[in-house]
Symmetry: D2
Amino acid sequence: MDYKEILEGIFEEVKKSAPSGNAASYIPELATVDPDHYGITLLTVDGREHNLGDAGIKFSIQSISKVFSLSYAVSLLGEKVFERVGVEPSGNSFNSIMQLEYEKGIPRNPFINAGALVIADILVTHLKNPETDFLEFVRAISGSPDIISNEKVYLSEKQTGYRNAALINMMKSYGNIYNDIDAVLSFYYMQCSLEMSCRQLAQAFLPYAKLAVPFDYSGVKLTKSQLKRINALMLSNGFYDESGEFAFEVGLPGKSGVGGGIAALHPNHYSVAVWSPRINEKGNSVFGMRTLEMLTTRTEDSIF
Amino acid sequence: MDYKEILEGIFEEVKKSAPSGNAASYIPELATVDPDHYGITLLTVDGREHNLGDAGIKFSIQSISKVFSLSYAVSLLGEKVFERVGVEPSGNSFNSIMQLEYEKGIPRNPFINAGALVIADILVTHLKNPETDFLEFVRAISGSPDIISNEKVYLSEKQTGYRNAALINMMKSYGNIYNDIDAVLSFYYMQCSLEMSCRQLAQAFLPYAKLAVPFDYSGVKLTKSQLKRINALMLSNGFYDESGEFAFEVGLPGKSGVGGGIAALHPNHYSVAVWSPRINEKGNSVFGMRTLEMLTTRTEDSIF
Amino acid sequence: MDYKEILEGIFEEVKKSAPSGNAASYIPELATVDPDHYGITLLTVDGREHNLGDAGIKFSIQSISKVFSLSYAVSLLGEKVFERVGVEPSGNSFNSIMQLEYEKGIPRNPFINAGALVIADILVTHLKNPETDFLEFVRAISGSPDIISNEKVYLSEKQTGYRNAALINMMKSYGNIYNDIDAVLSFYYMQCSLEMSCRQLAQAFLPYAKLAVPFDYSGVKLTKSQLKRINALMLSNGFYDESGEFAFEVGLPGKSGVGGGIAALHPNHYSVAVWSPRINEKGNSVFGMRTLEMLTTRTEDSIF
Amino acid sequence: MDYKEILEGIFEEVKKSAPSGNAASYIPELATVDPDHYGITLLTVDGREHNLGDAGIKFSIQSISKVFSLSYAVSLLGEKVFERVGVEPSGNSFNSIMQLEYEKGIPRNPFINAGALVIADILVTHLKNPETDFLEFVRAISGSPDIISNEKVYLSEKQTGYRNAALINMMKSYGNIYNDIDAVLSFYYMQCSLEMSCRQLAQAFLPYAKLAVPFDYSGVKLTKSQLKRINALMLSNGFYDESGEFAFEVGLPGKSGVGGGIAALHPNHYSVAVWSPRINEKGNSVFGMRTLEMLTTRTEDSIF
């Protein structure tokens, strides 16, 4: 498949299309980004690389980091992870608290905020140096030793994260958070405020597309079966209450972040990362969704 | 891949495993079935066929019929179908009414009961002879002119279907049902009480695995893109609030029915149907789930 | 207390105040009423009577009838009534179905629609001639043998009552409706479509204000304790999800109907009925609420 | 009415009746109380006083304090209080968070925890020395300068109050908390951990029964109309999701606390306080409810 030509066509067309949405405003620091950035990287499992636009500029990966933290937790605990967090779609927005009360503190899946906080709690419990160990894993899997967390974004999230504080206190009241709340929130905001470029993200998602074993990055090891299951979770839950829409329109496992990034993959074919800061009311990048929908339409190739 | 040997191994092992669950009791007629039936059919896209156990015995397909009715509606109206029913997982059980009120009469997806009733309403509006036209399509796609609806099951559902009556009246109050309620319910119970064997079901799902176009059965035409989207809907929503679990453990698009049947498919590889009447509290066949989980584990091959 | 002068002052002031709201439109026949009617009747327990404006014109009492049907059910079954319906406020609109699912078919109280349908089911079970027996009770307690149900309103409700059909089917699915659904709905629509004037309603509510025993109308007998409890239920639940507001602003037990009527009472002091068809979005008469709020403010006398 | 004899009869009978429930355990310090305490004080508006059992022993008043904090807020802001908190029953347990999300951070009423936190936020904003000003008011209205907060209970609540932290963070995310979260929680836990005896509580509630104006305690002034409205709020919402039951069975405005205390009043007749630490699953004192139900049954006198 000649992805290069297809991607160039999509890039030009999307770039010219009417912008909609705005950069995330609920984290003040994210609102300072130029909303008209747009970049794409696609890496094939057989080694081709295509970069377009702002593919090399770093941005706040936000919830895309949940794929890395889940991977780390699964490598540590295996199936036991899913005793504290489910695998079902939530049918609600990414920070809803209703279902959490209904289901007594067990989040529906690891990609909604509540679930990611449980995963963060697991890492805080089991890692010797949670923040640096996690950072080493992300650097290793993306092959980029220069990845760091953005201090301003980190503080901005911490100062305004009342909804996350509500979620974690709720779960603590049900006994599903083991560590000190501030320690877990601190770790969580650190992982969310990591900055990566499309190239680095596509690189980091390539192993999920390759399903190659041994998967071993900085000591984080996953089996083929575990990789497939993480891919399945991305497909079912990677886009909050737009996950069904993404599966329906795009048909690839992926994960979005409110920083405007989306990383996705076609097993055995390619990984792809898109970035454009304007997000819709569901929290997903407008150009990002459009780009990936056109990609699987024009290649006539999704996982289905 | 030598599916024959793998399937035989699974069949023997599952057959010997501890049974759990019971045949569906909320439709009295379904409770009269011998709960210990167990059959499998797998058809590969290149023409191989494997039948095990009770693969040739007909059973009540129940909600598996929703794949056929959705296909018919999409062939008639295309994208417009999704103005009246969503594509997102519901996060609730198959007959929940809460979300319907919250979302003002628009069902979350076409595979929960409320959504299937909207699809039935569409068919009642647009087909000249809804029941016979639908039946002809199912006969054509399965290559079995002898498929009929079971009158006793039909009446049993009609007499006890208070929950479905609640759902459809609710939607009618929101203006999302256009026809007479009894006419729509009658059509819906007819489609649910169709009887098919594993062989017939696997045959009927083979075109969704083949993604072959032209798809044209008794005048019902779908494009490749539409087939892929129906497959995506099955993956996200085919197993009610166990859909995430199925994607996670099995990794195939599929649809279950409370009659104990499950039909699933691996795009470009095979279609598969399993039947065993004992269902779990989520309404999915216990042996059926076990069988398919073992299948993708042993073949090390799912869509992810 | 000189109610006459106070009422005349209120009547003139409210009549001149800006109208808001509209006559109920969800029952088409109710929308045909002149929305600018306005009448008041106040009857003191010591025999004084004050009528203002359209106090003698009959209107559709709608949900006010739920006080009469509850009274009848309590006279028949006593405390047992409350095994099938609760006494707690619902916190939701009068025809919400969510809580019904959450609480497995047991309505929160007898004054929301679901609860009144259970009460109707009780009367259909226990009365020899449900409709005429009920009518005789209402005629006896109001001292008006000419009260009848409006056939057009009855049919209008029946034809458009999808929400009520949803509620009753839901409860039937949980086993909390014993009779044929159509028989119960028919009885319910009959009771709702009774027509009474303010004078007749105030007369019918006077025994609840007098708390006089023996209470015995057409064989319907209540103890003093039962009367007080019905009054308590009116205060907690008589105005749907505006019940707290009514207790807070007015401070009297009462019951409203979407026909624009409100009947209320001050134990040991008076009964009062107001009618004005324009209702707010909660289903309560705008002028009716205003009138009663001014009444207890100016008399400086509520139950609190 | 000879309350003395009636109360003595009730006291003996209840004391001998089978105990049920346990002292609240979710605040560890409360669980250390002897669960078999039982005391009653009734004060008539004309000056009679009746004490039984442990009427003079102090206990943790917990949520009963919400009546005092609401009174203070109303004296400061009048009607404006109800722009940030509603007056409707919640239909949920006292610390539910669901409705808060559904209603965008506006608590249903000032007596559920979320509402009391908003009231605390108001006091923290408007009082020069929130904690001491509040304490002075409670001391003044109860005529007891020795009332203090229990430090151990205060710390116990603070250390385990994850649910309250969830509620207040949730409201902060909706902009309905103006002050620092820790400052508001600190004030709230102080008010909840006040210790008073039945005698002191009955004294503090007597002004609400007397409806006497001027109401002026330590500068906290309320009009007669405001007192009546606070009484109305107690009736509708004083017992969480057992408020309807209390109105139905007892028929008095009142407020309970998980320390096992209940304070109630009969306007123009008496105030009454009961204490017995064993609470039911709704958080209300079992003996307390029983006592008050018998009181209004035997006196044949409630507000209805």
